[in-house]
Every structure is written in C-alpha cells, then in structure tokens.
Symmetry: C3
Subunit: 210 residues, 3 copies
C-alpha cells in the first residue's frame, strides 16, 4: 500500500470514531441538531485542524476531501434512525472502544504528518498528541466542562505519546512506514484499552496544600 | 456596485451588529472595560478570523482594514455615554434584530469568500455558518456558558445555512453577484426574524434515555 | 546586542514566567500530569501561538526552537521535586511577580514582532496585548472559568497596552530598539506591580440595570 493510501484509511477511520464519540456526547447533553452536528464536527476535525493550522498545511484535510464532512453530516442526520435500533447496545464499553481507536489512529496520523513536515521528534510527538486529544478537549470546552483528559488521572494522552514514540523509534530504526505506523496505532490504542480494562491510574500529583 | 464594495459594506454592517451584541452581553455580565472590549471584539471578529485562518487568507480583514478595530474600540469606549440615553430602549427585540442582521451579513460574506477561494459548495456553506456563528460561540465560551446556538432549539445556524444555499443556488443559476448576495442575506436574516417572531422550534432530538 | 538576541532573551524569560503561572494553577486544581503540562504549555505558548497564526508567521517559535518545549516539559516533570522545597515560599506575591514579568515581556515581544511585520500601530498594540493575555485567557477557559482578566477590575491588559504604546512611541521618536523595548517592558511590568501593590481599580462600568 502506498503511504498516501495508508494515511487516508487512518484518517477516515479516526474521523468516524471521534465523530461518533462527539455525537453520542452531544445527544446525551440533549443538544439540538445544530449542536449535535457541531460537537460531532469539532470532535472529529478539531485535532487535525489545529495540527494543520499550527503546521500551516492547506487546504485543510476536510476542505480538500469534503467526503469527511458528508460522513459526519450523514452520521448526525441519520442518528435518530439507527440510535433507536442500537441505543440499548451503545454501552460505555462501546464508546471507550471507539474512542481508543480514534486516539491511536489520530495520534499516529498527526505524528506522521508532522514528522514528514520536518519537525523535530519532540514536536512530532506533541503534534500526534494534539491531533488525538484536541478534538475531545474542544468538545468538553463547548460542553462547558473541564477537559476530562486533564483530570481523570487515567492514562489517555500518555497512550498517544507512547504510540508516537514507538512510531518514531521504529522509523528511526529503518522499519517500513506501514509497519511502524501499525505498530504505533496498536501501541496507542492497545495501551488505552488495557488502561480502561485494568483501571490503571496515573500516580497522584503532589498537592501544594498537603 | 463592484464586488469588493458590496463585500465591504456587508462586513462593516455585520461587524457593528455583532460588536453591539457582544458589548451588551459583556456589560450585562458586569465585566470591566477590558472584558467589554474583548468580548465585543471576539463577537465581531471571531467568526471572520476563524474563516480566514481556515482558508489561509492573510492579512486578516481587521488587520488590513484597521478601521474595523477603531469602530469596535469607539463603540466600547463611548458605551457609557450612549448607553445612558438608550438603555431603556435597548430591548430584547432590538438585540435580536441586530443579531439577525449580523447573522445574515456574515453568513453570506463567509460563503462568498469561501466560494471565491474555490471550496466546494458544502464547505462554502459550512464556512458561511462558521463565519456567522463562531463569534457568538466564542462569546459564550468566554462567558463560561454552553453556546446558546447549540441548545436553544430555535433555528439560528440553520437560517444562515438556508441563506448560503440560496446564495450558491442563485449563483449557480447565473444570477448577478449582488442579486444572489442580497437574496441570501434577506433569506438568512428574514427567516431568523420570522423564527423569533413566531417562536419556531426545531423538532426535539431523540434522547438516548427515553 | 542584536535585535534577534534581545527577542530571544525576552521570549525565554516570558515563557518560563507564564509556564510557572499555569503550572501552579493546574496543580492547585489537582490536575494530573497531562493536565499540568497542558495548562502550563497553553499558558506559556498560547499567546505567542495565536499571534503567529494571526500574522501567519511560521514555523511557530516553539516548533522552530523546541528548547522552549523542553523547558516547559522539564518544569512540569520536575515540579514534584522542587515544589516540596519551595511550596511554603510560593506565595500569592511570588505568582503575581512572575505573572507581571511575563505580561511585560510577552506584550513587548508581541508588539515588536507585529510592528516589524508591518501592521499599523493600533494592530501592533492589540497583538502585544493578545500575546500577553491570551495564554491566561486560554488557561482560564480550560479550567472552566470566566477569564480573570475580564472581570477582576484591576488593570492588567491595560498595563500591557500602555507598555506597547511606550514602545511604539519611543520607536517613532527614533530611540534605539533595545532602549524602547526595555522602556516598554519596564512600563508594562512596573505599572502592573504598582497596580497590585496599591490595589488600583478600574472605574466601574455603568450597568444596564442601575
């Protein structure tokens, strides 16, 4: 598979996963159709858009490939139809799984693009994390909450960071692009799923008051 | 009238209308002069700035035409003078009217600019909606509230979308630019005013829990 | 000293001061390591990043000079070590002092860069204020609070504005760059410190309801 094709598949998969997360969150908040679409849109495209603006890549991926926008629009408009069918099956577990897939896919796509743009490794890892996490951060800001990823003390962003380090490490060792990318995605998504299943917690941060 | 002149008149009118909305909101929140100016500034320029950043248009319109900034600054600084005179006359209705005008003007300006930049129709409509709505969304985020346009179940963003569709439709049918733009503005602003007057509501979104 | 060197020293100093402010705030909010680093990062780089995006300067200063990112990362990771030592000494006063230094340094750097990019004086002053204040505004938005600088009725942004006016005024009068920059920084930081020490208040804004 060509490099561009791999990136495309990754971005479509991540987009759907994150749009679903945002969609379900907005519906839970009882927003109207505009709010549901907007939050799904921001959840799906927020991270990649910030990455592209910071790196000055244009046209933005969802402007160049408007299929992405149609997908999110179709998801939002058809939600009443399939939500009636699946609403008893959409559990916390299903949302965590979709979110973990989006996390891994977006982190690796972000780090790959940043690295290809010539940014140093630290910044590439940061761009991977921003791509993966900023959609969710924006979603929480729009829903008037402190971003969950800053306070829940479970590894989330760190899984993205570890996946990006694996990607860049294998790349530096001479691995083929699709090998290092798949390894990075599996590391990020897998470590997130393990963290959820086993209830891993980050060590508490020393307080200023204790 | 030339195309550029039409765009200019639209942008000045929309800027004043949205700055007024932000100004009144910030004063109601009892912010200080810095907060009042900042919220008025973000309400007026937030949507257009995000549009220009996403489309990579520089210099930004308020940097190239600093008259816009002087207008908002003058509005904020002189507010204590004229607010004493008009405060009994600034009703909910007046604010809704100014806001509806800004909505139509900014939506059409955003969609026109995006379309002229070569984006496909779906993205042009989206850019019109972002230009019209993002200032208000930013205002609500800065005021620590869930964006009203996501939850109030009254058509607002949809009016901008309909106006942009009219604009692009007439343009595709070969109408003169100023005809399709005026028709688009009237559609967006008019449908918003009708929605407010008659209390139109969007159909409720199916809940996950009912 | 060369112009570039002055700018570099200013940016490093301002970055550390603002990262410290964000770091301490996030730790007070009991965020985890990801939240602490993210809030410190946004506090330190938010203003300058928005300035660079608005002016279309790339690569961003923290991408071109990744030392900045390492500094903030090192501050966040080592915080548990030195916070144990200094926690009884980090008082409100110390935080106000660091914040006032960052305010002056970032305002002057922002206005200088904008002015060098050819923006008119009003926009240069605005860019100085945005560079100085937007990191703190983003920090408060991420912490789910109304930005303090909009509501506390003590001069903060205004000190940045006055410093930028001094900078541009001296520059227009033919002063050497480093003279006008140091004068601007001293004006902004000094006036902020005086405002804190003497409890200066902005005059109350007329309410719509009184």
């Amino acid at each position: 598979m060509k490099f561009e094709t791999i990136l495309l598949v990754i971005e479509v998969g991540g987009t759907i996963a994150f749009a679903m997360s945002g969609l379900l969150e907005a519906i839970r908040k009882r927003m109207d159709i505009v709010g549901v679409f907007s939050v799904a849109f921001v959840s799906a495209f927020g991270g990649g858009t910030v990455r592209d603006v910071l790196l000055d890549r244009r046209p933005l991926f969802w402007i160049q490939n408007q299929e992405y926008v149609w997908i999110v629009l179709a998801l939002a408009l058809t939600a009443p139809l399939w939500l009636r069918t699946v609403r008893h099956r959409i559990t916390e577990n299903a949302m965590e799984f979709a979110d973990a897939c989006g996390l891994g896919l977006f982190a690796i796509s972000g780090a790959t693009i940043a690295s290809a743009a010539g940014t140093p490794p630290l910044v590439s890892v940061l761009m991977g994390a921003i791509t993966a996490v900023f959609g969710g951060v924006s979603r929480d800001v729009l829903c008037n909450e402190i971003p969950k990823v800053y306070q829940d003390h479970r590894p989330y962003t760190l899984c993205a960071v570890v996946g990006c380090v694996v990607l860049l490490g294998l790349h530096a060792l001479g691995a083929a692009p699709h090998v290092s990318m798949i390894a990075g995605i599996c590391t990020a998504t897998g470590s997130r799923l393990l963290a959820v299943v086993f209830g891993w917690k980050l060590p508490a941060w020393p307080s200023l008051r204790d």
